[in-house]
């Protein structure tokens, strides 16, 4: 097992406090309402802001209640020597949960789940980017989940597409991400972490989750990923629901990008004012 030699890990004889926490029996919602009072088809309120990391070429931050994701885009920069030659551009995606973001502490290095998420994120974004515009160059996308309260991948897809647009990378369309949790015949949009949770002794016919990347103005699906055992009819319903919900996200993305344009020009004009001020006195 690869160990992290650069950091001090905790003593070997430690026990996670979660070992003493009572495990939940069933998905809460099966017995009643969703715990935050939403209807099954409602998204959590979204806060989305572009241009948050000054060093990066483009960046974005998304907050869906307690799911908080930050994304920074660098490049197009030169590809490393190890990459094989291609006339198209390359996108490099790194998805990482911050160590403190989940119920269980994450490691500093990417684990297999995070690597899997990186690939899924890349699959969702690749169809939307004009790769021929930067031949033999690569764009790096770094996504950090600051707090995970479910639907992290969907939030990451939305956030990364806004960051790419903010970086001025040519794109065919923005990508909105949406995920649903399926339990029995229930389809829950934008599940929280407790809704994503499935206990061992709870085995309905349909259980799992679907995440969809959707290009809202081209009406095209860029990627689908599903987990668990789901019947075809139910997954069809889930995908339709995801698509429709992503469509409702589009105005949010648009507004966010427009606002970032506006704040940029505002900042620029302010610096001009300051400049005039200096000249006069």
């Amino acid at each position: 097992m690869p160990t992290d030699s650069r950091r001090l890990t905790g003593p070997e004889e430690t026990k996670s406090p979660y070992a003493y926490v009572k495990q939940k029996k069933k998905l809460q919602v099966l017995t009643g309402k969703r715990h935050d009072g939403r209807s099954p088809e409602t998204l959590r309120p979204i806060f989305l802001k572009a241009d948050v990391v000054s060093q990066a070429r483009g960046s974005a931050y998304i907050e869906q209640d307690n799911t908080k994701v930050m994304c920074a885009v660098y490049g197009p920069r030169e590809v490393g020597r190890k990459e094989d030659f291609s006339m198209k551009g390359i996108i490099n995606c790194v998805f990482k949960y911050a160590t403190f973001s989940c119920r269980y502490r994450r490691s500093y290095q990417q684990d297999s789940e995070e690597k899997d998420m990186s690939v899924q994120l890349l699959d969702a974004l690749e169809p939307a980017v004009c790769m021929h515009k930067f031949p033999k160059a690569q764009v790096d996308i770094y996504v950090t989940v600051l707090q995970n309260d479910g639907s992290a991948l969907a939030a990451a897809i939305t956030c990364a597409s806004v960051a790419l647009a903010n970086a001025g990378v040519d794109m065919y369309d923005l990508v909105a991400g949406c995920s649903v949790r399926i339990a029995d015949n229930l389809v829950l949009v934008d599940p929280t972490e407790s809704e994503e949770y499935k206990s061992q002794d709870d085995n309905p016919v349909n259980h799992g989750s679907v995440t969809l990347g959707y290009m809202p103005s081209l009406y095209q699906v860029s990627a689908i990923t599903s987990k668990g055992e789901i019947e075809f009819e139910v997954i069809k319903k889930a995908i339709n629901l995801c698509g429709n919900t992503s469509q409702t996200l589009y105005p949010v993305l648009q507004k966010c990008l427009n606002n970032s344009r506006f704040s940029l020009s505002l900042r620029f004009s302010l610096s001009l004012v300051r400049y005039h001020f200096c000249v006069q006195f």
Binding site: A137, Y172, S265
Partner: protein, 156 residues
């Protein structure tokens, strides 16, 4: 300064129908008979003869990378008898944020008497060379140098 009342576009936004009078310029693409924006920025139109060029401009500088036929400014980093390595600093007058690696081969230095080129007499490390990108090789970009420090020959 860009006025806020200009039309703002986001990627994927449909701009107009694509016909003979409309040319899709920078920051746009055409798909199934329509012009769409591919960048987030302001919509600008220019008329050229009887055509209209549609462009989307961003506030920040363009994301530019060296492409074939682009004129680039490079700094020589390493010289040997067959080629010299250089780092590309700017493309067509736009400075790159990070340099790209490039290569000037001996046979690409000038058009005539290619076999008589002596690399050490042409380049020294630190020279600034304006060159045209000839091709993408699997390892490096190759250049045909078109202008040299201290010299007055120009080849393309």
């Amino acid at each position: 300064m860009s006025a806020p009342m200009e039309k703002v576009c986001v990627p994927g936004q449909r701009i107009c129908r694509h016909d003979e009078k409309v040319v899709s310029g920078n920051g746009t693409y055409t798909r199934s008979g329509f012009v769409y924006a591919s960048l987030a920025g302001y919509l600008t139109t220019k008329s050229d003869k009887d055509q209209v060029i549609i462009e989307v401009k961003t506030d920040t500088e363009l994301n530019i990378v060296p492409t074939v036929d682009a004129v680039v400014t490079t700094r020589v980093t390493n010289v040997n008898p067959r080629f010299c390595k250089c780092s590309i600093l700017s493309v067509g007058g736009i400075t790159l944020k990070e340099p790209f690696r490039g290569l000037i081969r001996k046979e690409d230095v000038r058009a005539t008497e290619k076999d008589k080129v002596e690399m050490y007499k042409c380049f020294r490390p630190g020279d600034i060379v304006v060159a045209r990108v000839v091709s993408f090789s699997s390892e490096y970009r190759r250049h045909n140098s078109s202008f040299l420090r201290k010299s007055n020959f120009l080849t393309i």
